[in-house]
Amino acid sequence: MSKCHNLSNQCLIDKAQNEKIDLVWDRYEKMLPLCGFGEKGICCRICMKGPCRIDPFGNGPQEGICGANADTIVARNLVRMMAAGAASHASHGKEIAKTLLNVGRQTAKNYSIKDPEKLKAIAKNINIDIEGKDIHQIAREVAYESLMDYSRFEEDTCTWLTNTITKSRLEKLEGLGVALNNIESSVADIMSRTHLGTDADPINLLLAGMKTSLGDYTGMQISTHLSDVLFGTPEPVISTANLGVIKKDAVNIAVHGHNPLLSEIIVDVVDELNHEAIAAGATAGINIVGVCCTGNEVLLRRGIPMASNYLSQELTILTGALEAMVVDVQCIMPSLSKIASCYHTKMFTTMPEAKIPGATHLELHDEHALENARDIVRQSIEAFKRRDESKILIPEEKSNIIAGFSTESIVNLLSKIDSEKPLRPIIDNIVNGNIRGVVLFAGCNNVKVTQDYNFVHMAKKLLENNILILATGCGAGAFAKNSLMNSEATKEYAGESLKAVLTLLGKEAGLDVPLPPILHMGSCVDNSRGVDLAVALANELGVDLNQLPLVASAPEVMSEKAIAIGTWVTGLGVPVHIGLMPPVEGSPLVANVLTEGLKDVVDGYFIVEGDPLTAADKLTQVIEEKRAALNIPSAVKEEK
């Protein structure tokens, strides 16, 4: 199995081998064989009587020491993963909301409201009266109302859940008792009910998991939209992606992680220090590049080029031309600091809850943010002087991309065609079958799959079938790096009718070229943008989300966040494909609920399929069935 689908990265993998540096793939090989109890979810480490393991073949123990069986253990472990995912997205959103509150109080001197119109739109959407109020007061009220979603003790459903999904969906979730009132208490509830000797009913556990996953969703909505208020709502932007964006004659600084609060500050101070970099001999000045979702955030809002998605993050340092790796939270391999120590690269951690041994810690969210950001950039310029020219190897390949497709920017684009009903062109083309349906790609890279292989192969097949693709997170990174987010990709891969639609839309929207066949909607917290678009379409059509010819896919799924996202997507009624089996095989009951039973309760369900081409066929089939159910032209119907 090759390591990366993108072959330009291979020279750095070889370089690592020559330099005896272990990369994620080497560590994976050394870890084999992986423990099957963990893989199947039947290892319980919740109390100290154990750890306990259930024998899935029936010869050994069928119950843990306390009597919990495989179903209970698998369900407990799984919902704890969901809670961890929800906690991470929720605290991301909370940091943003707190910053907005401080901007409203005029105590956060490093941040401002860059999109006041969006702030007003949000206020209107969450029923805050803005008449006669100044922008700072609106900011305070919006932030306060958002923070209530983290602290409410009344039983009212979270504001950002209530106001962002279809009415019928909300009723369904409330009817099931999973429409939560408080994100953080949903996480605490999971930790408490999975404590030894509490909830042992797998179904009850899974329902609680759905509730906390909807907390993940609520936190994401807050993250995305309040970030837009503080940093601007993304507009279509042209940039480049892949390791070739690292420049030989520049001071290269990578921003990596998830939270735009930090990366935006770094981007802000670059201009004022550019001359210092040039004076140090870096003729191209300072070059900021993005990694993972921080990369997506600054790509969408600032057009900063994207160097790498999750699995190849270590390779950015292997280029020998990276002066600094600045990280915030989530998806940061601790190996980075060790690899940086083999080079002149400086590694900086910036959040109090995410320190890494070997890295320099300089916080970027407090009152010293600006001076610390300048310090980081200056230390990077110093590091540039220590570069070892003989160790530099930068792959040449980089792809042109068009990114920045927020729901607002899509609607703006389309309103040039139909200002009254901007979504009409999309809906018309879905109804007449020029666009068969939509797949939202999200999620991670996983070392168990050749990096980006599943994303690229599924996408090509779906595009051929005239299915439009939206992408976020490391999925978006995969498409950006592999030349699937530009107009050429539309010409090369989109089926005839999809190509015609994208060309027409591109032309009528005032661009000279077709829209890309895969629309980059942002980082993994921006899956909320995909939902917003789907909800807008559903409301326009007068249907619920589960009726839309829409599916989601995370073909290289890895993190706890992805498990939480996948779960709430099913909760919103949308089928989710995952390319790897989550740790549930040890309980056929739980596995069945996720892939079958869930359908009867919330309409959404999981499809597990490792082969990308088979997966593309299965998703196409689901889309055609949904079309048939809507009585619009469908391949399923035609066959009958």
Binding site: L32, G36, F37, N59
Partner: protein
């Protein structure tokens, strides 16, 4: 009736279909070896290498424990120039005092389950071959081999 030691010593067999790759067998084997090391061996950090190794081929979703078969016409026993390998109660066993660390047994083993380990004693490097002895010391006291005892799914079985 008196039972001879030979007749009660059991050999290992495995069923890879039941192996989950948890490596409990490796841990138990290694821990058992370490417990028998002399203080001198411990001080000089003699490596602990389990004699049963769970392997997984890349891309093949199957875990296979590799272990010594105690072959009838053992290559290792026949090839050892120092006569350090003998058969005891049916088990093929390495005598550490005689082993010169030449590595010929490792090369001769068709199952790849003999490993060479080195450590320093009084500034000199000592190399020893390392393999399964069926936990003879346990078996003659009516106790089962450690790997078998540790396997949670009964992927390891014993036979005569």
């Amino acid at each position: 009736m008196k039972v001879s030691i030979e007749s009660k010593v059991k050999f290992l067999a495995t069923n890879p279909d039941l192996c989950l790759g948890c490596r409990s067998c490796e841990l138990a084997c290694g821990a058992g070896k370490a417990a028998k090391y002399t203080p001198e061996e411990r001080n000089s950090k003699r490596p602990i290498v389990p004699s049963i190794i769970v392997t997984q081929a890349q891309g093949l979703n199957k875990k296979i424990p590799a272990y010594c078969r105690h072959c009838e016409n053992s290559f290792c026993l026949q090839l050892c120039p120092a006569k350090a390998i003998t058969r005891e109660h049916g088990a093929v066993k390495i005598n550490d005092d005689k082993c010169t660390g030449c590595g010929i047994c490792e090369q001769g083993c068709p199952y790849g389950v003999i490993t060479m380990t080195s450590y320093k004693v009084n500034e000199r490097t000592k190399t020893l071959a390392n393999k399964c002895d069926l936990c003879l010391d346990r078996q003659i006291n009516d106790r089962t081999p450690l790997c078998y005892t540790a396997c949670p799914t009964k992927a390891i079985t014993l036979h005569s």
